[in-house]
């Protein structure tokens, strides 16, 4: 199902959220179209389980609907707030279970991904997900928010409720660990400079 076309591109998230709180039924569709995909993507990458990721994404959006009547414009951005809720929900779930990332993502059968068997992008994503799964939780989160979701460090700091310096340290260490894990696979994955 295609997400509804966002016909309100000129309106801020806060304005649309206020419209939703005021009873506008279309506002929820617009907000879901904007924010459900990145929330789901983040949850999937953190949890490694599609079903749990959907549960978390639905819960995060539910909390947004409940926060709408009291939402104050000028405070946190809706996207930042949603990311923070998503991260907290994922963290709660990860603490309740042992995170078996490699099993969830799937090991290649012979330890080497064949470019002939998969599209190059799919292979890179699988390799990256496996390498991410091996990182400590907060490094993984910082790297995903920075380099996959494209968030700036101050926003990541707000989501993770840490300082900007801590974000920089986590992303730097995480990125070095990923490079070590993936450098040997670049040729096999069709990486070209």
């Amino acid at each position: 199902m295609e997400m509804a076309f966002d016909a309100s591109q000129g309106r801020s998230d806060a304005e649309i959220l206020a419209a939703y709180a005021g009873g506008d039924p279309e506002a929820a569709r617009i907000l879901a179209a904007r924010h459900l995909p990145p929330v789901l993507r983040l949850a999937a990458r953190l949890l490694g389980d599609p079903a749990e990721a959907e549960d978390v994404a639905q819960e995060a959006m539910l909390r947004l609907w409940r926060a709408a009547p009291g939402w104050r414009d000028g405070g946190a951005k809706v996207s930042t707030w949603l990311y923070r809720v998503t991260v907290n929900l994922c963290t709660d779930r990860l603490r309740r279970r042992r995170f078996v990332a490699l099993e969830a993502v799937g090991e290649p059968e012979d330890g080497r991904i064949s470019p002939e068997a998969m599209l190059q992008d799919e292979a890179r994503v699988r390799a990256l997900d496996q390498a991410l799964a091996a990182l400590p939780e907060r490094q993984r989160l910082a790297v995903v928010l920075r380099h996959v979701e494209g968030m700036a460090n101050p926003e990541i700091a707000e989501v993770m409720e840490i300082g900007v310096g801590a974000v920089e340290s986590l992303t730097a260490r995480g990125r070095r660990a990923l490079a070590r894990a993936l450098v040997g696979r670049r040729d096999a994955l069709g990486y070209e400079r």
Partner: protein, 138 residues
């Protein structure tokens, strides 16, 4: 390190670790919301909107107006000091009501016609409450 979002390390020298293409692939990949998930999310939105609307248009505004009316009455009446005096007066009234007249030292109230007929001069010597004085003053 720049605070500006650096999506894949491109342009800031961070791409030499070879991860840029991996990150780019990851950004384009990832699960898409299923139709079922979208339906659940929008159903939740409808439920919460209905719940919030009921709270807005039902009891909440009426209760707020009532509270405000009581607060205004309270301020006009004088607030806590007045309440203290009222409580004292009320308790005194209750005590008077349940006590025998003898306990109050008011024998005349029990039906002593002679005592009941005597006027009580609230301001002795002034004649302030004298009817004659009022008639002359006109």
């Amino acid at each position: 390190m720049s605070d500006r979002a650096d999506r894949g390390g491109q342009g800031t020298g961070g791409g030499d670790d070879g991860l840029a293409l991996f990150f780019a692939a990851a950004r384009d990949a990832g699960p898409r919301p299923s139709a079922a998930l979208v339906a659940r999310v929008l159903a939740d939105a409808g439920t919460e909107r209905t719940r919030a609307g009921a709270a807005r248009g039902g009891h909440a505004p009426r209760r707020a107006a009532t509270r405000e009316a009581f607060r205004d009455l309270w301020r006009r009446a004088g607030g806590w000091p007045v309440l203290g005096g009222m409580v004292t007066a009320a308790l005194a009234g209750v005590w008077i009501g349940v006590s025998a007249p003898g306990a109050l030292g008011l024998a005349g109230w029990a039906g002593d016609d002679e005592a009941a007929g005597d006027p009580i001069d609230m301001m002795p010597g002034t004649g302030a409450f004298s009817l004659a004085g009022l008639a002359e003053g006109g």
